[in-house]
């Protein structure tokens, strides 16, 4: 679904680092769309987020022909060992692709195996569109300036756990708190929709990246 959203936004082929960053931002920002977190936890690394599970899934999709990879390579990991890298995109020549994407909720709630996946997909597409506005396509850097990831109280190599089990713990997910705070710059009675909040947050990330 992440890749499909990236295809719609035309940011493919997308390097692994950016895809992982997109994945992180979708996890941390999912409450903006009233969705639960996908993981709620990420290891803070100097070069931005990386999800071994997602990478493993990508590798499988590559071999199964649903995903294409170019410039497959191994790069030095910032935490342990090395990690695989490459530029990923959907393989449109694969006949099974369309029905699979439909079943995953990329077309309509009716065609999805789980109708909730359609909502997730809408969210991912909007987030990808918002991130596509970031200057020079520096999505992987955007994740490192994200309010939750950049929390300077958490040093690199530490886990950031932003899944809150306690409603008082609003400090956990500063990114969502920031998207809520946009509201305070509006007059009373006016509001931002979830999609608008994602775009505003992408603008905010752009500002953080470029001073």
């Amino acid at each position: 679904m992440l890749l499909e959203a990236a295809e719609r936004t035309a940011i493919t082929p997308i390097p692994a680092a950016k895809l992982h960053a997109f994945s992180y931002l979708s996890d941390v920002l999912s409450p903006v769309w009233n969705l639960p977190h996908f993981d709620g936890v990420v290891l803070k690394l100097d070069n931005g987020p990386y999800y071994p599970d997602i990478q493993r899934e990508l590798d499988r999709l590559v071999v199964r022909g649903l995903v294409e990879v170019r410039k497959l390579r191994y790069v030095e990991g910032t935490y342990e060992g090395v990690r695989i890298d490459g530029d990923y995109s959907l393989n449109f020549t694969m006949n099974r692709l369309s029905p699979i994407l439909s079943a995953l909720g990329c077309e309509s709630p009716e065609a999805a195996i789980d109708p909730r996946d359609y909502e997730i997909h809408c969210f991912l597409v909007e987030l990808a569109s918002a991130l596509a506005t970031i200057p020079s396509d520096q999505i992987h850097i955007a994740a490192t300036v994200d309010a939750t990831y950049a929390n300077d109280q958490v040093d690199t190599s530490n886990i950031i756990d932003f899944e809150s089990t306690n409603s008082d713990d609003k400090d956990l997910n500063r990114s969502v708190a920031a998207t809520r705070r946009f509201q305070y710059f509006l007059p009373e009675g006016s509001s931002f929709s979830p999609g608008e909040r994602l775009f505003l947050y992408a603008t905010y990330l752009g500002k953080r990246m470029h001073g």
């Binding site: 109280q153 500063r174 710059f185 007059p187």
Partner: protein, 368 residues
């Protein structure tokens, strides 16, 4: 504006958030449907190029922009027909030449691919259809005419015209009134351009849909957002249970570091009939008093809202869906009385809608 009582977020600078909000009017129409969103983005692109006198252009009078679901997939499909397609990244910022070219873009018009136009502009719709691109919204930009023709898809009969502005309209009352008038002319005066106003198939009988206000409200919101793009946030709020619908327009307020209200528009409709519960049922007539009441309420609300939000002027747009428009509602005594009291601060307009082209020609064109 920013509530100082509410604790700011650690590590997040309020001034960064505020300046992001100030940039809000540059966002796409995030809540519009994909076609409208795309159309607005192309207009934005065209306006900005016109304002800098069409930089980097050589020849050609038209450019074609097609929104597709997966631009890369379309590129792969078209490469056998068009040869290699160049990547396009943020055409608004990067000043790629537009004319004489066919753009395959995402819904925000921000990324995709471009090739030379494969045929004359008049044949482009057929070409798109022949090449499997007939499902997608298409905008054609005309340099000489300074217009955009927009179709929700290449085979649609309906098309919309949008002016390209070499000078952006400022946020003035006159311009707002002009935008409202234009919206009425382009989208509402005849049936078919704005879905959801009339009951499908019974437009000529002047039978409205169950919620014509809602349909008009959504279209008007996006239309005003597009008209004043870059300077206005248009938003709507529906409280249909009490019949109140309004559109709010916000502009940047650099001093207060955020957005502030610029204008509030109340929408009302006059109608001859209620929406029938069954498809072929004869619709129940709406009393004259009901329409008078609608206007009175509209005036009162427009006034109350503008006062409430500290605005000098209010706007009331009444869309007249009546079959027989001869009864002059604004001339009724209590309306006249109300207009005397607060009319100066309310800009109100009654805009006629016709259920058929014949009526439109008969009553509107001839009167004009």
């Amino acid at each position: 504006m920013a509530n100082p009582k509410d604790a700011s977020i650690p590590g997040v600078n309020d001034s960064d958030l505020a300046s992001s909000v100030l940039d809000y009017p540059a966002q796409p129409l995030v809540d519009a449907d994909e076609a409208d969103r795309f159309c607005n983005q192309i207009r934005r692109l065209a306006d900005s190029r016109a304002q800098s006198n069409w930089p980097n252009e050589n020849s050609g009078d038209s450019a074609v922009f097609v929104m597709v679901k997966w631009p890369r997939s379309v590129r792969e499909e078209l490469s056998s027909v068009l040869g290699s397609l160049e990547s396009v990244l943020d055409p608004q910022a990067n000043l790629v030449p537009l004319f004489g070219r066919l753009f395959i873009l995402n819904r925000d018009g921000s990324r995709g691919f471009v090739a030379s136009l494969p045929c004359g502009t008049k044949d482009i719709l057929d070409w798109l259809e022949n090449n499997g691109l007939d499902r997608w919204p298409v905008a054609i930009l005309w340099r000489q005419k300074e217009r955009i023709t927009f179709r929700r898809n290449a085979t649609s009969d309906e098309s919309r015209w949008l002016d390209v502005r070499s000078v952006m309209p400022k946020t003035t009352v006159d311009n707002l009134l002009k935008a409202l008038s234009q919206f009425h002319e382009d989208r509402l005066v005849t049936p078919g351009s704005c879905e959801g106003v009339w009951m499908k198939g019974r437009e000529a009988e002047y039978v409205p849909s169950p919620t014509p206000e809602k349909a008009i409200q959504t279209e008007l919101k996006h239309s005003l957002g597009s008209w004043f793009h870059g300077s206005v946030k248009a938003e709507s709020e529906d409280k249909t249970s009490v019949g109140r619908i309004d559109i709010r327009l916000l502009v940047r307020d650099h001093q207060a570091q955020g957005l502030r209200y610029w204008a509030i528009i109340e929408l009302k409709v006059f109608r001859s009939f209620h929406h029938p519960t069954k498809e072929n049922q004869t619709p129940q007539p709406v009393s004259r008093n009901k329409n008078v009441e609608a206007m009175r309420n509209g005036l009162e609300q427009a006034y109350a809202y503008s006062q409430d939000r500290n605005l000098d002027e209010g706007f009331l747009e009444i869309y007249d869906l009546r079959k027989d428009k001869s009864f002059i509602i604004e001339a009724q005594p209590d309306i006249e009385q109300y207009l005397k009291k607060c009319g100066k601060s309310i800009h109100w307009n009654i805009r006629p809608l016709y259920g058929s082209m014949a009526d439109y020609r008969k009553f509107y064109i001839s009167n004009a």
